[in-house]
């Protein structure tokens, strides 16, 4: 069906004087989501979403434009609805910038499992029972529990006028749970989630329940916050504030705009020599995995940081063309707007210690050496402000005090601050608790000299 659209585009877009200024690519995606929500301890709603859309990009006389649409009637985007979509894309290109955008040609695609029958075939009742099971195991006196299950089945087709194409079906399942405890004016919420391409295994569900239960248990006692430049363990979930400036700085787009502190640092050691960061779209069973990106570039593993040395940035076709380099296969596009560079599965590892055994223990075995410090599990306001510079300052949402190697209680009314480029220059410890948090796989990290303030 996008073939018909691309045929139409081939005839319409012009190559200009040189004859190489034309081209087009398109993405068609259909997704069906089923969701079940347990609110405050009881099953509350069930929902279904069906969405189909097309995103078309054309290069017309050397200029690039895009257009998107939903509301596709049946399978018929090739004729009646295609023409106005193409008109809009060409109109967008007429105002667009000149760009030597090279659409990739046909290439073999890697094999990566993205579709799991068990997830696709799960009935509504099965999803309800899955949620009910989690809910029952988390229910306790004085607490309220929310659980949500979402299952998505999607089909993606992407093709260009140069003959490259790819199509795949994918499933994704998310289980989120949070437990609330309110005592007077103290509001405590502890949550976790499982995401994957298949239904979660029993072991993963056990892990979810244990993770919430353990952190809730530690949180019941309140400890006075420490103050000063202290050792702080950032859990896999708590690492967001520390990693966000790095991922923003490794985006080819930020480098191109001249705002990345890492822009001129390829080949330089910027981080602790054990620090490694990899983008891997080929991990089996992850929802972000796919055989090709949304611009027909085959998926492959990209090493971003190796042994603390910056290796490369992520690019989509446009930023690569502007930076005179090749796309790394990180083009991501929605139904509306143009593609943007985006990560798939981000793997933070310790160089030379990739296969360390996982331990479910909170803190990843890093607490023993801490005389006085914190474990940070969640911060408030991550992503606000001037992120890319590397400085951060956030109040804690969920953090624990560590004294003489033991957790002594939850810390309230404290804020942590620092500069990630200073903190990640020397990492005092990698935890043995590496796990997935959304699309990121990381262990806990022990960082020294993090500023902790209290009021």
């Amino acid at each position: 069906m996008i073939e018909a659209l691309l045929d139409l585009a081939r005839r319409r877009v012009a190559g200009g004087e040189e004859g190489d200024g034309g081209g087009a690519d398109a993405l068609w995606r259909r997704a069906e989501r089923t969701s079940v929500a347990f609110e405050w301890g009881r099953l509350k709603s069930a929902g279904a979403t069906e969405e189909t859309g097309i995103n078309l990009r054309v290069r017309h006389r050397g200029r690039v434009g895009v257009a998107g649409m939903t509301g596709i009637v049946g399978d018929d985007a090739g004729t009646r609805q295609a023409a106005p979509l193409l008109d809009r894309a060409v109109a967008s290109a007429e105002l667009g910038e000149e760009l030597e955008l090279a659409f990739p040609s046909r290439a073999p695609l890697p094999r990566v499992p993205t579709f799991f029958d068990r997830a696709a075939d799960a009935s509504l009742d099965q999803l309800i029972q899955l949620g009910q099971g989690v809910l029952e195991r988390l229910t306790r006196e004085g607490c309220q529990v929310n659980v949500a299950i979402e299952r998505e089945v999607s089909e993606t087709r992407v093709a260009n006028a140069a003959g490259a194409e790819g199509a795949y079906r994918a499933t994704a399942v998310g289980v989120t749970a949070d437990v609330w405890r309110i005592a007077g004016d103290d509001v405590l919420t502890v949550g976790d989630e499982i995401t994957g391409a298949d239904l979660p295994a029993q072991r993963e569900l056990d892990g979810l329940v244990q993770s919430i239960t353990a952190r809730l248990g530690f949180a019941l006692a309140i400890a006075a916050p420490p103050e000063g430049a202290l050792p702080v363990v950032f859990t896999p979930a708590g690492l967001s504030a520390v990693l966000l400036p790095i991922t923003q700085g490794l985006s080819g787009k930020a480098v191109l705009q001249g705002i990345s502190p890492l822009g001129k640092k390829v080949g330089e050691r910027v981080f602790d020599e054990r620090f490694a960061l990899t983008d891997d779209p080929l991990v089996p069973g992850r929802a972000a995995s796919r055989p090709l990106d949304d611009e027909c570039v085959p998926s492959r593993v990209t090493s971003l940081v190796e042994r603390g040395v910056v290796r490369r940035f992520v690019y989509d076709l446009e930023t690569a063309a502007r930076a005179r380099t090749a796309s790394t296969g990180h083009g991501q596009r929605g139904i509306f707007g143009k593609p943007v560079p985006a990560y798939t599965n981000l793997i933070l590892g310790e160089t030379g210690n990739g296969k360390r055994e996982r331990s479910p223990q909170f803190g990843g075995g890093l607490l023993g050496d801490i005389k006085d410090g914190l474990v940070v599990d969640e911060l408030i306001g991550v992503g606000q402000g001037n992120v890319i510079g590397g400085a951060f300052s956030h109040p804690v949402a969920l953090a624990y005090r560590v004294e003489r190697g033991e957790i002594t209680g939850r810390v309230k009314d404290a804020a942590v601050a620092g500069n990630v480029y200073e903190l990640l220059g020397r990492i005092a410890g990698f935890g043995n608790d590496a796990r997935w948090s959304g699309t990121r796989f990381a262990p806990s990290l022990l960082l020294e000299g993090v500023s902790v303030a209290r009021r």
Binding site: L43, K44, A48, E50, A67, G389, A397
Partner: protein, 461 residues
């Protein structure tokens, strides 16, 4: 369309059914640095069906192909019947509204050529780039929208609306060696093309601020008396009071009901806070919410005492209170949930000078990069700040992050000036995976006796 939706309702088998359909026309132009990023026109459409049966829960279905309408009504009913409840969901009564509401399009954006929009945004972008050689990156973004909206429910409501919106934003990044600073401003209006003209000075100011911040020291972390400017005070009202007033957090939770009991004192008598979905001419204003309930002004805190909260029909029924017209969805892809509209801190008395004249040392926190609440804890990031020394505004400082406990901070608001204004910012509110929802915030200058300011925390240890 209304007839088609009404026909689908007559075939619906559930106790309660509602259908929303939206057809969106939108265009956007974005400049990044010296380049046009994109100029596009988009058309989006779809519907949302929500169904309720006695002794069952909500069944919901959203879709982008309107030819699937009848099937999706049936699907939502099946989903509702799969959800068995011991305690039925009740909806507070609302008289069914029938209305045709065509809002003032103020220069219909659909009639303005994309090339003309490109010219305007290019000139605003150029104004930022022209400020200084230290401006290394800019983002000038324009987006408009006309949303044709239909709503019907099985109680007899039938609404047809035409809702315009324009959002304009400027971000300037200044860099000197390793120091990178950002200026950011935006406006969001429920208006049209006429409303975004003559904004060059605003864009220039964004770039000037980014350059000034290069030389500004980081604020020293610690506890200070803090003056919030109107924009940040508005964000505070939204983040700290507004979210906690959303009844969906409260209604099913006995401990939370106790914490948020009406009549509880939250602040000094100077403090009055509310949410007004009917305030004329604002971005958060609409005649009805997404359950067909008329919008209105709801006072949340009156002279320091909690007197109201924001409701959907469901939360109002559960708490024995009145619906307030705050059930909102960002689009047909989502269910309506309890949200704010235009949230405000009401005017006090006196001037900004009255707030600072007796302060030996304090912080004047201005503009908002953003804010987040985790119920009792909140954080917001000011765009910039100034120290206050001996009763006067002194040097500019950066990295001003306010972190606080809601209850303590509300009680420490001791002075509110009489210079109220609405701030129609772009962006919007996020909750439950629905963002950005168009909202407005308004406030006068507000003084907090003592608040924790993050920033260069190591400087005080």
């Amino acid at each position: 369309m209304i007839d088609r939706l009404a026909a689908a309702l007559t075939r619906a088998r559930a106790d309660y059914t509602e259908i929303r359909v939206e057809r969106l026309w939108s265009s956007s132009v974005t400049f990044r640095g010296r380049r046009l990023e994109s100029a596009t026109v988009s058309e989006d459409q779809g519907g949302f069906v929500r169904v309720l049966n006695r002794a069952h829960g909500w069944g919901m279905a959203s879709f982008t192909s309107l030819d699937q309408l009848e099937r999706m009504v049936a699907r939502a009913n099946e989903l509702s019947r799969a959800v068995r409840l011991e305690r039925a969901v009740e909806l507070a009564p609302v008289a069914p509204q029938r209305a045709e509401a065509i809002l003032d399009l103020d220069g219909d954006v659909r009639g303005v050529p994309l090339a003309e929009k490109k010219r305007l945004v290019e000139s605003y972008n150029g104004a930022m780039l022209g400020v200084s050689g230290s401006i290394v990156d800019t983002l000038a973004a324009y987006r408009d929208e006309v949303n044709e909206y239909w709503y019907v429910n099985s109680e007899g409501a039938a609404l047809h609306e035409l809702r315009p919106e324009v959002v304009l934003s400027g971000t300037a990044t200044a860099r000197r060696d390793g120091t990178i600073e950002k200026g950011l401003e935006s406006i969001g209006l429920r208006r049209g093309w006429n409303a975004v003209q003559d904004r060059t000075a605003d864009f220039r100011r964004v770039a000037e601020r980014a350059v000034q911040l290069l030389d500004a020291p980081r604020v020293k972390g610690g506890t200070y008396p803090v003056i919030l400017d109107s924009e940040l005070a508005g964000v505070f009202a939204h983040e700290a009071i507004g979210h906690l007033s959303e009844a969906d957090f409260v209604y099913a939770n006995p401990q939370m009901r106790e914490m948020m009991v009406l009549g509880r004192r939250f602040g000094k008598p100077v403090l009055t806070v509310g949410d007004d979905g009917a305030a004329p001419g604002l971005r958060g204003t609409l005649p009805f919410d997404d359950e067909g309930t008329p919008t209105r002004n709801t006072v949340l805190i009156k002279e320091g005492v909690l007197v109201g909260r924001l409701h959907s029909r469901e939360t109002a029924a559960a708490m024995g209170e009145q619906p307030t017209g705050n059930a909102r969805a960002i689009s047909f892809r989502h269910a309506p949930i309890v949200r704010m509209t235009n949230t405000y801190i009401a005017n006090g008395r006196g001037t900004f000078e009255d707030l600072i004249q007796d302060l030996k040392l304090g912080v004047y926190a201005c503009g908002a990069f953003g804010g987040q609440t985790l119920l009792e804890n909140f954080s917001f990031t000011a765009a910039y700040g100034h120290m206050i020394r001996d009763g006067h505004v002194a040097e500019m400082v950066k990295d001003v992050v306010l972190a606080g406990n809601l209850f303590q901070t509300l009680d420490r608001i001791d002075h509110i000036a009489g210079d109220f204004q609405w701030n129609q910012m772009g962006g919007g509110c996020g909750k439950g995976g629905q963002a950005p929802l168009p909202v407005t915030e308004g406030a006068p200058h507000v003084r907090i006796e003592a608040a924790l300011i993050g920033g260069d925390v190591s400087a005080v240890t």
